[in-house]
């Protein structure tokens, strides 16, 4: 598992990368009541605003962690956004991306580095 400074996690699944937000992020956001996901087959550039999470407190943008194409989104979150709080690293995933070269992941933080990052 790899991590971004935007508190996203990335997990390789075959030739795709699954993206979600970390437990730390989901705790900070509080109860999540709405997730606005991109359409499948959307081309994105790193740091594009691709999704929005609404918690009971406020709306937060989710940025694309890498250049690539969103090929699948977790439609279950439309009706059950609370999954992001219940299981942020599992059933609460956001979308799957295809990138040109999986080696771009090497530049991201590993778990130990992310733990240091969030202090």
């Amino acid at each position: 598992m790899k991590y971004t400074e935007e508190h996203e996690w990335l997990r390789v699944e075959g030739d795709l990368i699954v993206v979600g937000i970390t437990e730390h992020a989901s705790e900070q956001l509080g109860d999540i009541v709405f997730v606005d996901l991109p359409e499948a087959d959307t081309e994105v550039a790193k740091d594009d605003e691709v999704a929005v999470i609404e918690s009971v407190k406020a709306a937060s943008d989710i940025l694309a962690p890498l250049d690539g194409t969103v090929v699948e989104v977790n439609d279950v979150l439309a009706d059950n956004p609370g999954l992001v709080n219940e299981d942020p690293l599992g059933d609460g995933w956001f979308f799957k991306m295809k990138v040109e070269d999986l080696s771009v992941l090497d530049d991201l933080m590993d778990e130990a580095a992310y733990k240091d990052f969030i202090g």
């Binding site: 509080g30 709405f34 606005d36 609404e54 406020a58 956004p81």
Partner: protein
């Protein structure tokens, strides 16, 4: 955060695991470990205890010794029948300005030999100055700084508070009493800001922690932060000053006509005589150009404050703006309150709110979004 004030319950909030945020010049608990959603639902199911000590408590006493004189003096600042407020009763009121805008909303209680006012935290200094500027001839104005204020709200509030103050079980909605207790003299009203039955309890600062701990011993009572306070009041259709009401909104635009009794309206015994009366009485007689309304978005995306509202899915100028919007945990969907051009204000009217560049459908809806549980 060094300039922020703290309430007498500050240390207890930290002990209870609260997340503290700046609010109206105070460090206040926005949520406890239970989280906003569960705190909201707990208040509706059992009872929630809120620290609202940041709010202002003011006593008005007529210099003549006759409370009716204080009532008449206060009527010069509010479009509300204060003279007709019976002893032991409380009423919602509004300070208006010369343009008919709202300076603050407040509660006024008749406690026999004086009037007791509870005002918003962010407005309390200005309110005290406003009262001093206009009423100091007729009244002694005592800003209370040695008392905290708690709100106990929810269906179990009565039984939880009656364990300490049996007399509260006999109170009706908007009754006020001064009651002796193990925590000193308590000033209690049967009212609140959640749409639930419940009480607001003024207690001496040095007894506030003891009273709070005693109430929290009851397992039905949980501490609740400002986050849930906001979603509870919005489900109940209650206005937040500074968001839904301000100096640019009149009481009529704000759909608060119910707060302006007959005695102060055209043809009443004490018609007008409050700041902005010409505009407010004119709007009561005619039609204001905009009105405060409730909105239910059809999807799950909340329409938050400042969301522009449109009459059609494409094109056209905005017809209104959201002033409060959030997810309603008890109704299981987002809800909003806002102002809209009067011709679009009828319940059932289909409109659109623009969220992140997309127009999403919503329906104008009567408030409260969830029926109130007041003990009439």
């Amino acid at each position: 955060m060094t300039d922020l004030k703290r309430t007498p319950l500050y240390d207890l909030h930290l002990e209870l695991g609260a997340k503290m945020v700046p609010f109206a010049g105070y460090e206040m608990p926005v949520q406890y470990p239970m989280g906003v959603m569960q705190e909201h639902l707990h208040t509706r199911a059992k009872a929630g205890l809120f620290d609202v000590s940041h709010m202002g408590q003011i006593i008005l006493r007529a210099k003549s010794g006759t409370t009716a004189d204080a009532a008449l003096a206060l009527e010069s600042l509010v479009p509300v029948d204060i003279l007709g407020l019976k002893e032991g009763r409380q009423r919602y009121a509004l300070f208006t300005n010369d343009e008919g805008g709202i300076l603050d909303d407040l509660m006024v209680a008749n406690r026999g030999d004086h009037l007791f006012l509870v005002v918003n935290a962010a407005c309390k200094e200005a309110d005290a100055a406003h009262l001093a500027a206009h009423l100091s001839g007729a009244c002694a104005i005592d800003v209370i700084t040695d008392r905290a204020l708690l709100a106990l709200q929810g269906p179990d509030a009565e039984v939880a508070l009656a364990a300490h103050v049996p007399a509260v079980a006999e109170m009706a909605f908007m009754d006020v009493i001064i009651a002796p207790s193990a925590f000193g003299e308590l000033w209690i009203s049967r009212s609140g800001y959640s749409g639930e039955d419940g009480y607001e309890i003024s207690v001496a600062n040095d007894q506030a922690v003891a009273l709070t701990r005693a109430l929290l011993v009851d397992e039905r009572v949980a501490p609740i932060g400002l986050g849930a306070r906001d979603s509870l009041r919005l489900e109940a259709g209650l206005c937040l000053y500074g968001s839904d009401l301000d100096t640019t909104t009149t009481p009529v635009e704000a759909a608060l006509n119910w707060a302006m009794q007959k005695a102060r309206r055209a043809g009443g015994d004490r018609e007008g005589g409050f700041p902005g009366a010409a505009r407010i009485l004119g709007e009561l007689a005619g039609d204001p150009t905009r009105l405060r309304i409730g909105l239910l978005p059809e999807g799950r995306a909340p329409m938050r404050a400042e969301t522009p509202l449109f009459a059609s899915e494409t094109g056209g100028e905005p017809i209104g703006t959201v002033t409060s919007g959030a997810f309603g945990p008890s109704i299981g969907r987002p809800m909003s309150m806002g102002y809209i051009a009067s011709e679009h204000s009828a319940a059932g009217t289909q409109i659109w709110g623009e969220v992140r560049g997309k127009r999403l459908p919503a329906v104008v809806t009567a408030m409260p979004f969830r029926p109130a549980g007041y003990k009439r």
